[in-house]
Symmetry: C2
Subunit: 384 residues, 2 copies
DNA sequence: TATATTTATACACACGTGTGAAAAAACCAG
DNA sequence: CTGGTTTTTTCACACGTGTGTATAAATATA
């Protein structure tokens, strides 16, 4: 005992620690070793687990000297907190759920990137759920994630039909809608100004001299789908061009749908000279069919997409498209969500609308023509 | 009161339930309502929470009649289990961690798709971690996921350097390597036969008459990177073509790296007539530069990629590539992992090697030439 | 020295669920 | 009705952590 006092603190650390090591070694030789808990540390340090808990959480209630000693012991014993137990007690899991319809779509992959990145920065983990556009699954997963006590949810809704589930789980976990909002549901969301984006795209085509401009719409029942069609029509109306409903055909968020929709348009007696697709993948499908039919783009047909996914610039010809900063959208959503989590004020809601920009590439512009003067337009040269 | 009794059994359910509803209503009017726990159910049902727990888990220790009654009450009260508390007690979270280097690469996005899909089927949730190829982050995240008590991990390693961390956490959570294995580390993995894939690709180019075949390698220190270079050289050696080390230039898993690497190759006094890129994105970069320099593909330069990501078929010209069933790889990894979790035998390890196939498209074949007769080769017509 | 005041630690309960073992209830044979 | 057997429920503790309060120790004040 007397010896202890001389080295003050250190000795009392080392000896019992070694003792406990031996205790642990007694477990089934090759099998998994038992986890070190704060109780084990307490035993070694000669204090109660309560004190250890406080020490590790830097509570001012424990003497700094003791705290240091306990932390040393904890480190030496290889202590690592059990996040599950913490979650149960602290009533937050530091986890958010991300629900997206289709991870294979680069649009959502990039959003996921932004979400994961920001979440990590803020100390959260992301549970990823890919619904494959299944509304039933979306609902059941929201439920499951709530049971799992995620602190919040970022949801990219599939359709207005989601509103029903959302309303139901509103009080369970706070959530942010991403990419699409819900009419009649007062919630936080981060969206892009899709009306404006579609308006820019269509106006661009009109400026190039096109009058028969088709639109391959997104048939999903969501706000971006609706808004893009709205923006398209708005541009036409504003320029006194008649909106022909048969020039608006439904597509989908994949390449095949564009291919098929283009087929219908090409078959028309008086086919369009330009196509505005609600989605880059759809637009790529259009390009694929155009090539197959030897329809030269942009000379015989101008094509504009939406989203500016990475490959848009590498398809042939490079695709003019409306760019959304998808990564930023994801980051914003998480930021918003976590702000909400950290402020008890449940009252004020935030709704962020991000402005898209038009990126002009070769699919809507012959090599010679150029010099556009629209605001919010980026013109990319192929060699930049 | 009397009316209730006639319905035998229902009455005892309804009345106390309503009572409790009132109790809950007393919370701050608009704020979050208190969760229903098994104790609440117990109070209403007039039993202990232990019995409720057993009833809800279909334990044979509770009378079926009682169990039914309890379940009815639970449903009526809107009970939903607290998965965190369950996890703490049951010692498993029904969660797996997925660690990937780059979600923006469609290759990993598709793997993620497969992993999430299979995990859902088996009742697991997936925590997604995107490391951005940061080895330090990979290590710290493995640690964090272990603290979170994920039941297992699926890891797409960034480099052999990962082995260090992996060894360290081997006893914490079981894991499966996906896409790349680790020499000197005896663990379960699911990989593709990359030597064979690269061999197929290179042989294909040789069969087309090419002799100066460059290889844009993946400079990462991983088994697929190594193996693809190995397969490339193996094919050359087998056909008695000298391996020129300066025809092997490093790339990376993105478009720019291919663009840059192609630049170096084109600059050579005696440039290659064919390029085998270790990655589709890299190959797409090659195509981009070739177009810029007016080098026609495949006439002046044949290009072959690896992975067969979705857009490979839509770039110009459509890209010949080595196809891996990425979704299947992801599903297999999860299947393997969960098998491991459900069998206590920690002894036997499983190592699955999936065979890739060559998909021939226009980037390595002129429209006229065709009729190849290699086994494991798919020839896609542009219109299929 | 005794008392008030501050500081540090111990104690005990809590989070929501699961479970072995004791206790109670129901059933059965004599 | 007794004693034994089986079925059903209760009791009490556990998982690993956090935290309010009581208690003990150290320090300051009178």
């Amino acid at each position: 005992m007397a010896g202890f006092l001389s080295v003050a603190g250190l000795s009392s650390v080392l000896r019992p620690a070694l003792k406990l090591c031996n205790l642990n070694m007694r477990s089934h030789s090759k099998s998994r070793e038992k986890r070190v808990t704060i109780k084990d540390i307490a035993k070694v340090a000669g204090v109660t687990h309560g004190t250890v808990s406080r020490a590790l959480n830097d509570s001012p209630l424990v003497k700094v000297e003791t705290a240091k000693r306990i932390k040393r012991i904890a480190k030496r014993m290889g202590y690592r907190p059990d996040r599950i137990a913490q979650s149960l007690k602290r009533r937050r899991t530091k986890t958010i759920g991300l629900i997206i319809p289709d991870i294979l779509n680069p649009f959502f992959a990039t959003i996921t990137h932004g979400v994961e990145e920001k979440a990590t920065e803020l100390g959260y983990h992301v549970i990823l759920v890919n619904t494959n556009r299944d509304l039933v699954r979306e609902a059941s997963e929201i439920k499951l994630l709530c049971e799992r006590k995620v602190d919040g949810l970022v949801i990219c809704p599939i359709s207005y039909g989601s509103a029903k589930h959302l309303r139901r789980f509103k009080n369970e976990s706070p959530f942010i809608l991403l990419g699409s909002n819900m009419p009649g549901l007062v919630v936080d969301y981060v969206v892009s100004d899709d009306v404006q984006g579609a308006y820019l795209a269509t106006t661009h085509l009109i400026d190039l001299g096109h009058r028969r401009i088709a639109h391959i719409s997104d048939p999903s029942n969501t706000s971006p789908a609706e808004s893009r069609t709205t923006g398209y029509k708005k541009a036409l109306l504003e320029r006194k061009i008649r909106v022909e409903e048969n020039l608006v055909v439904p597509g989908g968020a994949n390449i095949d749908s564009g291919y098929n929709a283009a087929g219908k348009l090409f078959e028309m007696p008086d086919p369009p000279t330009a196509i505005f697709a609600a989605n880059d993948l759809t637009a790529i499908g259009v390009l694929a069919l155009a090539k197959e039919r030897n329809i030269s783009v942009p000379e015989e047909l101008a094509v504009v997409g939406y989203d500016d996914i990475e490959i848009a610039k590498y398809v042939e010809p490079p695709l003019t498209t409306v760019a959304q900063d998808k990564r930023r959208l994801g980051r914003l959503a998480v930021q918003l969500l976590c702000d909400k989590l950290n402020s008890q004020e449940e009252t004020d809601i935030h709704q962020i609308v991000v402005q898209p920009t038009l990126v002009v590439r070769a699919s809507s512009r012959t090599a010679s023509k150029s010099v556009l003067n629209l605001s919010k337009v980026t013109v990319e040269s192929p060699s930049s």
